[in-house]
Symmetry: C2
Subunit: 250 residues, 2 copies
């Protein structure tokens, strides 16, 4: 928060990659709410170029300096998947609120550790799944929750495309936590979760790209009957191998 | 075949239920190809009423008499699910070709026995899944098989409705082999089979109606990569509990 306007939030951006650029450009559309405080990169030259392009006040050549900046209230973490955990931990330990690009982390254990850290310090922590805040999705959720359509019995979601990039691209690179599930799967799974909550079981199948990352995955999720809703199911599909409909159906 | 026209086939109808009526009415639209030879029911009065309504030459008060009628070349079996096996066996053993309403039988073992019997006697045996012969489906199959869309990576099929009938209805009656999978599931599964063939695995989930029959079932089917096609998946849904889209998507 700035002294002049307590509703203004000081934003730090960690990473200067594509998704960080998109996020920074969107932040600049909210001059009343967002102060573009600082950007951090492992390369000082990249941080400086990014700060000058998107109008950030300060540029740092390390993530630690960014996390230590007292004008930063919230850090948006837009680095590669397997860096999310370390960077989010660094920022939480420095007392910053954190918005982590999806996937939150690359393992359950890492995610639990971040949640615990944020809880202990009473800090905001959120995975940047923008679709959940999309007005259309919010409206759909509201309609379904109102019960006017009756209970939800099945949700079907598919999301994917035929990726034709190089094998060294992060999407296909195991070293950068590539693969369809971590990059795309979070959307279908969050979509189902919005309407049905936590599943009892997930019965799934995946196949692999030449680099060893999962490139195509489909699953059935199951929700047994409870006192408040009858049994339900969901089908999810994510793939880097085919142009499938981007669709969520309740 | 009749002496006058060797292309005419003598049809026998086994059962006088709803689906048998629909079939009989459709047969009557093909006077050049089909002779309405005979109908058989466990109740002679029902057989007689059916024969007179749909224009069949003879009516029998037993299935055995129908199977023995020398003017019958093919028997269409439209009885309840768990009668299909016994009636089809009776007709095959009497040397008749057989068209069995779906499901072919209620178990793998019964189906294998019918296939073996028909093979031994060189008799035609087919499950009456009309959708496979639907011109739209045939055209879709042709387009997909031509390869112009690329290899099939996922097939999604849903079929079902909110059944609001009585618990004693055959759809919900375990004694009459009711349930969503036997009544509806054959369509999604056949639909997937048309485009992807036999799956390696089926990972599924079902829930039950009060009578004990399955009333809602979803599954993921898996097809590992082979020399001729990349790995693929399918999602199927059948339900007696919700009005879902009747859709097959490749």
């Amino acid at each position: 928060m700035t002294a002049e306007n307590p509703r203004q939030v000081g934003w730090g951006i960690l990473s200067t990659g594509h998704i960080a650029s998109v996020f920074a450009a969107d932040l600049a559309l909210l001059p009343d709410e967002a102060v573009l405080a600082a950007v951090g990169s492992r390369a000082a030259s990249k941080a400086e170029a990014f700060a000058s392009e998107y109008g950030f006040d300060r540029a740092y050549g390390s993530y630690a300096e960014l996390a230590a900046d007292e004008n930063v209230d919230v850090v948006y973490i837009g680095s590669v998947h397997n860096d999310h955990f370390g960077s989010a931990k660094l920022c939480l330990e420095a007392g910053k609120a954190v918005l982590v690009e999806k996937p939150l982390t690359v393992s359950d254990a890492e995610a639990a550790e971040l949640v615990r850290l944020a809880g202990d310090r009473n800090l905001f922590l959120m995975e940047a799944v923008w679709t959940r805040t999309n007005p259309l999705i919010r409206k759909a959720t509201e309609i379904v929750r109102s019960g006017e359509l009756g209970p939800v019995r099945h949700v079907a979601v598919s999301f994917g495309f035929a990726f034709d990039g190089d094998e060294s691209h992060r999407l296909l690179d195991p070293e950068q936590a590539g693969g369809a599930i971590l990059d795309l799967g979070v959307y279908p799974v969050h979509g189902v979760n919005l309407f049905l909550g936590e599943p009892e079981k997930l019965l799934g199948y995946g196949s692999y790209a030449g680099t060893g990352v999962d490139s195509h995955a489909a699953a059935t999720l199951t929700y047994p009957a409870t006192n408040s809703h009858p049994a339900a199911t969901a089908s999810v599909l994510c793939t880097l191998e085919a142009n499938v409909p981007t669709r969520l159906e309740v």
